[in-house]
Symmetry: C2
């Protein structure tokens, strides 16, 4: 299996880096080939911007989707975007490793979606969802958050984590990928900000690492999050009234 | 009333720019003072990064929250962050104007949250939610999306828009703001990608502009989205079992 880890954290001594390293080691030991997109390390530019398009489809007006399609069709995508697309096509499994900042992905990772998932290349009107370009691949988000688990439950003040993850899962499925349940590491708040005493905090981190390592050895047994697909929708892209998912 | 419009689009001839201009004109005509944070125009850097912290709290290990607090407490925040914070304190109403890219804010706007909402300055453990630093202010997201309305309903393939907006609303409320329902402009897909014929598309855009202009004249009548607060939570930050919001 080819595994791409998209790693997004500015600090190489962070817990996110440790979880990334665990994935590299564990999956390599299992005989898989692993590559890492180190977004901070490689200085990825997350801002979709005219500066990334040398030859423009429209020099007057910058419409990102049209420029993406034009650049893709003419082999003129930016070097970093081309590199990330090649990595995605190579991969059977994609792991996104990131901290939850402001209820979502850090800007760096958000912009990886904005720039790399080019219209005309990684999706089109007819190649989306279960007919997506990346069909057959699987994806996992491995996410750290500072607050403890209780705060992210359905009634927690941190925001229901299943709702906070929803946009990311929608994006991965839009590309055609099977989305496995996220790996959630709560209570990861270092530098004296932890809710716990230092000993208990270190034990907590060790437990989180162990859980990730264990899970990575059992991914074959997992089922993806269910999404509806083209056969379930009417012509407006809405789940038909008779569909069982509406009445679950 | 002081109004800050945080405008995030790379193209000055875009529909997002038109909605921003409508807000500036309409609110100014009503006698309000309006300022615009033009994130693309001002070249805002959305990436939280050690490069923004000249004097570090910890030179070995970059922990963003600790560095934010240190820089805030020592008046050493980056110039652009200081400017955005001053604008936020000045404002009574904050309007976020952005296109929905990959089921969320563009990286540029996401990074505005990551960098500007500094720990120790715009929030702390005790100054969040209904005790937040920006309490008493109101916020609206004005969002454009390419797909039509039907796709963003609860059963639409685009993803339920109320779930897609949830992380942004959580962030605004976390800061203490009252969050008004978003202004949603669907089917905004220019450059030959529209689902409609050109005439109908132009009429659709005109209708969307009219709706925004009309709403901006009636904001005083609106009620914010209800969130639970400190008095509703147990010591773990979870809504108590007796709370009526759990049984709605």
């Amino acid at each position: 299996m080819n595994v791409l880890i998209v790693y997004c954290h500015p600090e190489s001594m962070s817990f996110n880096a440790a979880l990334k390293d665990i994935a590299v080691t564990t999956l390599t030991e299992q005989g898989h080939e692993v590559r890492v997109s180190d977004l901070y390390g490689e200085g990825f530019d997350p801002v979709e911007h005219p500066r990334h398009f040398e030859t423009r489809h429209d020099n007057q007006r910058f419409l990102p989707l049209n420029e993406q399609r034009h650049a893709h069709d003419n082999d003129q995508l930016a070097t970093d975007v081309t590199r990330e697309i090649e990595r995605l096509h190579w991969a059977d499994l994609v792991i996104l490793q990131f901290p939850l900042w402001w209820h979502a992905q850090p800007a760096m990772l958000k912009g990886w979606f904005d720039r790399v998932m080019v219209y005309g290349g990684l999706y089109s009107g007819s190649r989306r969802y279960d007919r997506g370009v990346l069909s057959g691949k699987r994806a996992i988000s491995s996410v750290t958050a500072g607050s403890p688990l209780a705060a992210f439950g359905p009634w927690g003040r941190g925001g229901d984590i299943s709702r906070l993850m929803y946009p990311t899962h929608c994006s991965l499925y839009y590309l055609g990928m099977e989305v496995l349940p996220p790996q959630l590491s709560f209570g990861v708040q270092g530098g004296g900000l932890s809710y716990q005493a230092e000993d208990a905090f270190q034990q907590h981190l060790a437990n989180l690492k162990h859980a990730w390592r264990t899970r990575l050895g059992q991914l074959d047994d997992e089922s993806p999050i269910p999404f509806s697909g083209w056969n379930d929708w009417d012509e407006d892209g809405v789940l038909t009234l008779q569909h069982p998912l509406r009445w679950r």
